[in-house]
Amino acid sequence: MTSKVTINRLSTGVPGLDDLLGGGLPEFSFNLIAGQPGCGKTTLAHQIMFALATEQRPALYFTVLGEPPLKMLRYQQQFSFFDPAAINRSVRFINLCEEAMAGDLDHVLARIAQEVAAHEPSLVFVDSFRSVVLATDAGGHAHNQLQRFMQQLGMLMTSWQATTFLIGEYFTETDANPVFTVADGLIWMRQSVQRNAMVRQMEIMKMRGQPSLPGLHSFRISGNGLQIFVPALATPSRGGDVASSRASMGVPGLDEMMDGGLPRGYSLLLAGPSGSGKTILAAAFLTAGLLNGETGVIAAFERRPHRMHNPMLARAIEDGRLGVVESHAPDLSIEEVMQLLSVEIRRLDAKRVVIDSLSGFELALGPSFKDDFRESLLRLVTSLTGMGVTVLMTSELEDRYTDLRFSPYGTAFMTDAIIVQRYIEVDSRLRRVLAVVKVRDSAHSDQLREYSIDDDGIRIGSMLAAHEGLLGGRPTTRPAGGRAREG
C-alpha cells in the first residue's frame, strides 16, 4: 500500500488567509493563534468559526478566564460574520472559568474532554490559553504540567478529529514553549506603531505539511472582520496576442509616435514636472478606452477623481464603467492597493488601469511600507500586467536640467514604455515638450515634440527643430542652416 493520507484543507472564510496558509487550513490540525492583546486574535477565531461551523460540523468555543464571555459576545456580534442564529445550533460557547480558577489543569482537561464527547465538535477553540497557563503558575512545576496538558489536549483533539485553535497572548517567539512543539500551525499576529500609523500584520510561523507564505502580511479589521493583504502572485505571463494589438492613447499624434499606440498588457510610465499635463494625458488614455467600449480603473492619490473636470470620465464613474480606487487610510500598504485594484478590475472586467500618481501613492503609504516601495511597486506592476490590463502610471518628475531622469524611484526599468514631459524656455516663454523614450519591441518615434493643452486636452505640435539643447531647459537657436520648424 503506497497511498498516502489526504489532508483536507478547510477554507477559513477570512479573505487572504487561505493563500497565506498555503491553500487553506489542514483538517484536524492543532493550531495556535498568538499575539499581543488587541491584535485581533479572538476576532480571527470567531470569523473562522462562523465561516466553518455547520450543524454537521459543529464548533465548541471554550472561554477560559480572560475576557468575560458576556463582553466577548457583546463586541463580537458587531461583526457581520457573527450569526446569532448559529449559537447553540452549530456554535456552542462553553465557559471554563470555574475549572480554571481552581488552578488544576487536569480539571480543565477533563471538562474539555467531557464537552467534546458530549457534542462531538469538528472545531474546537480555547480562548484564551494564557489564562490556562497562568492558572498553573501557582503550582510551581508549571512547565511540566503545561507540557502534559498540551500533549494530552493535542492527542485528545486529533483523536476526536477536531480542528483545534488555542488562542494565547503571552508567548515570546524565542521561548522554547511546549505549545510551539505540539502545535501544527502557528499564527502570529502583531501590531506595530510607527508615527501616527498602526499596522496590523500576520505571520504564519509554522504550518505543518504545506507551504505557507513566509513573512509579515498586513491585514485590516473592518466591520466584516479581518482581511489579509497577500502579495499578488507575480505572473509575468502575457496572453499570446497581447502585444499585437495596441491601445490608443487618446491624444492625436501620440499613437503614431508610439508605433501605433501602447501595446496591450504593457505598463507605461508617464513622467513630468508638476503642471505638465500628466493627469490630462491619463484621462485621455481612459477616455479613449471608454470610447472603444473598454472599462477602466483609476487609482487616484492626488486629486479626487469624483471631482474630475473631464465630464466623460465623471459620467463613466457614475454609471460604473470606470472604477475608482481611493484610500486615505494612514496605514495603507501596496498589497492592499493591489487588492483593491484587482477587485475593481475583476468586477468591471477592466482593460485599462491608471495610477495617478506614484508620488501621491508613496505619500499615501503607511510609514513602515515606504522602505519597500520599489520592490512592492515592481510586484504591483507585474501583477497588473499579468492580469492582462494595460497600465498607465504617472510620476512627478522634478525638472532638473543637468541630468536626464525619468522617475524618482528608479522605476523606469520596470515599465514597458516611458513618455517624458518637460518644460523648456523659448523666447521668454515656458513651453512644454514631450518624447516617447521607450516602447518595448516597437519602432517608436525619437522626436522631441512641443505640445499645448487647451479645452480639448493635449495637442501635440511639431518638433522645435530650430532649437537645440532643449533638454537642458535653455535651448539655443540653431545657427543658420538649421531650418525653422517643419510643419
Binding site: Q77, A85, R92, F93, N95, C97
Partner: protein, 143 residues
C-alpha cells in the same frame, strides 16, 4: 424589550402556575424558571457571569419591591440561593409575588438585551423556553 417578549415571560410563568395558586406555588414556579434560565446561560456566560447579572436585576427590581432587598447580601462570588429566593417570595401575597416575579424576569431580559442584543439573548434563552414549555403543556383558553 417588546411587549411580545414580556408576555412570553408572563406566559411561561403562568404556565407553571395553577389558577388560584398560592404564594408558595408561584414562588416555586419563579424559582423553577430561574433555574432553567441559569441552566441555559451558565454554560455560556459562566456561573459568576450569570450571578452578576442576576444581582444587578435584583437590585433594580428591589427599587419597586423593597422586600426583595433582603436577598441582596452576599459576596461577589456567591451565586443566587434558590431556596432563599423562593422562601422570600413565598412570604408575600400572591399578587405581589406574581408582579415582582414578572418584573424580575422582564428586567433580567432587558439587561441581557442591552448587553448582548435581542437576537442573541433570544437565542441563548431558547434553551430555557424549551424547558419551560416542556414543564406544562400550553392550555387552550377556556371559553
Amino acid at each position: 424589550m417588546n411587549s411580545q417578549e414580556s408576555n412570553r415571560f408572563t406566559a411561561a410563568l403562568t404556565q407553571r402556575m395553577a389558577e388560584d395558586a398560592n404564594s408558595r406555588q408561584i414562588a416555586d414556579a419563579i424559582g423553577a424558571m430561574w433555574a432553567d434560565i441559569e441552566g441555559a446561560l451558565q454554560p455560556v456566560l459562566g456561573r459568576r457571569g450569570v450571578a452578576a447579572l442576576f444581582k444587578r436585576t435584583l437590585h433594580l427590581t428591589a427599587t419597586r419591591h423593597p422586600w426583595l432587598a433582603a436577598l441582596r447580601a452576599g459576596g461577589a462570588d456567591s451565586t443566587v440561593d434558590l431556596v432563599e429566593l423562593t422562601e422570600l417570595f413565598a412570604q408575600q401575597s400572591p399578587a405581589a409575588v406574581a408582579e415582582a416575579g414578572c418584573a424580575l424576569f422582564t428586567l433580567f431580559r432587558d439587561l441581557l438585551t442591552t448587553l448582548i442584543g435581542d437576537r442573541l439573548s433570544e437565542r441563548l434563552l431558547q434553551a430555557a423556553w424549551s424547558i419551560s414549555s416542556r414543564a406544562a403543556p400550553a392550555q387552550d383558553p377556556t371559553p
